[in-house]
């Protein structure tokens, strides 16, 4: 069983489109996250979501919005995609110090 699963694995889309990436965790963790990994492999946190509390990294454009239908899901919706949004996006979850990451979604904006 995959602990943190995200779909799709690959996403190619045109500039200006709106897209969503889904994430589900079956670990019973209480906090979920979205991270962005750039072409130089630098991982940076975008959002964390815990008990309906959303913490946003102030550098994230408001075109990005997380949506959590329940404790096990945290989806990422992106409006008006730009070329610079191309990256690998990772979902993660945690309980205390234990973090588990999904296998990533490679987003390519053309």
């Amino acid at each position: 069983d995959t602990a943190v699963s995200q779909t799709p694995k690959y996403l190619v889309t045109q500039m200006g489109n709106d897209k969503s990436i889904k994430c589900e965790q079956n670990l019973g963790h209480d906090t979920m996250y979205w991270y962005k990994q750039d072409s130089k492999k630098f991982l940076k946190i975008m959002f964390s979501y815990n008990n309906k509390e959303l913490i946003i990294n102030e550098t994230v454009p408001n075109r990005f919005s997380p949506k959590s239908p329940d404790k096990a899901h945290l989806n990422l919706h992106i409006n008006s995609l730009e070329l610079g949004d191309s990256a690998v996006y990772f979902c993660a979850s945690s309980l205390g110090h234990g973090y588990t990451f999904g296998s990533g979604t490679r987003l390519t904006v053309v």
């Binding site: 492999k41 630098f42 940076k44 946190i45 979501y49 913490i55 110090h97 973090y99």
Partner: protein, 112 residues
């Protein structure tokens, strides 16, 4: 944002050699984690250290947290090709919802 400096950025060595990678910060961290990431996958947690001076071992990997809790090292003994990957250190603040701040990583290649 408290920066984490990792060194070296790239390291390529022969199978059987030993190596050490470093993670440093100018500020104290409450906890530090090491991850390994392979191509096409997410980071996988290797270890969490929380106490200054702490040493943890995971098979051929030895992790050390500095006494002042501002630095950490990862030592690999008798490296094997399966150790190839991107090694990331990350600081967390008490496991809270602020998430992790990552270093830029060490790209390690072990040649057979």
């Amino acid at each position: 944002t408290q920066l984490l400096e990792q060194s070296p950025q790239f390291l390529s060595i022969q199978e059987g050699e030993n190596l050490t990678v470093y993670c440093n910060s100018s500020s104290v961290f409450s906890s530090l984690q090491w991850y390994r990431q392979e191509p096409g996958e997410g980071p996988v947690l290797l270890v969490t250290v929380v106490t200054g001076g702490e040493v943890k071992k995971l098979k051929r990997l030895t992790f050390q947290f500095g006494d002042a809790r501002k630095d950490s090292s990862l030592h690999i003994t008798a490296a094997q090709p399966g150790d190839t990957g991107l090694y990331l250190c990350a600081r967390g603040e008490g496991g809270g919802a602020d998430g992790l701040t990552f270093g830029k990583g060490t790209h390690l290649i072990i040649q057979p």
